[in-house]
């Protein structure tokens, strides 16, 4: 049996659920690229924040070789989405968020619970209709 994938830590949920190509594209589920949350975080830390692999692996609490594998998978997925004009959905994977995160169903903002007491309502719009964002 294959060893289960290591759980990595990510700081906050991504702003968007995914990306769609402009022009002619297909919405067939098998053509959609599923970018896992840990892959998104690897791209964010290494290519956007310009951290070294050593630093990024510390943030994600995985070993550096594991981070390299996650990063390679992420780059391949993004490259295939770009060249083949496929939709990208960011979800799933083996990541957990730092702290608890919620998504407001009214204003669609995401917010965390810094003290760990549990959220009563959305801190922006006050709506009590929110759901837990799962890592």
């Amino acid at each position: 049996m294959a060893r289960p994938r290591q759980i990595s830590k990510i700081q906050s949920p991504p702003r968007v659920k995914g990306f769609m190509p402009l022009g002619h594209y297909t919405q067939e589920p098998e053509r959609i690229v599923m970018l896992h949350l840990e892959e998104y975080e690897a791209i964010r830390l290494l290519d956007y924040e310009h951290l070294s692999q050593e630093e990024a692996s510390g943030f994600m609490q995985v070993s550096r070789p594991t981070l390299t594998r996650i990063y390679e998978r992420a780059r391949f997925k993004i490259a295939s989405a770009l060249t083949e004009g496929r939709q990208v959905i960011i979800e799933g994977g083996t990541a957990i968020f730092e702290g608890r995160w919620f998504a407001c169903l009214a204003c669609r903002s995401k917010f965390n619970d810094p003290v760990g007491k549990g959220a009563e309502c959305c801190p922006l719009c006050g709506s009590n209709q929110y759901e837990r964002v799962k890592g």
């Binding site: 700081q11 702003r15 968007v16 669609r108 903002s109 719009c125």
Partner: protein, 106 residues
């Protein structure tokens, strides 16, 4: 609860800034109307995130940071200091939208 959002111009209908620590202005929402202030660290070559966080949280008593995207260091400092983070949705485009949602909260 004092909430801060980064804005790009010094006006009540300003668009929200894509950056946080290097945004030109901030709007602090505590009462009904937001208080606008210039960011003195917007052009700092180094440690803008840390200085902005200290100014907003430790000196001005802000308890919630709301932005489209927060830098790595500010996020780390917010988590460490138990400051709440709001990742704003793309449909919230300007300060008026934030004020609208915020006033609905009251």
């Amino acid at each position: 609860m004092k909430l801060v959002v980064p804005i790009s111009t010094y006006s009540l209908d300003s668009a929200l800034s894509m950056q946080f620590a290097r945004s030109a202005f901030f709007a602090i929402l505590d009462g009904t109307l937001p208080v606008l202030l210039a960011n003195p660290y917007a052009n700092n070559p180094l440690h803008a995130g840390r200085k902005v966080f200290n100014m907003l949280v430790n000196e001005m008593g802000v308890s919630t940071l709301a932005a489209y995207e927060l830098g790595l260091k500010i996020q780390q400092m917010a988590l460490k200091n138990k400051v709440q983070i709001i990742v704003l949705d793309a449909k919230i485009r300007n300060l008026q939208d934030v004020v609208y949602y915020r006033n609905r909260n009251k």
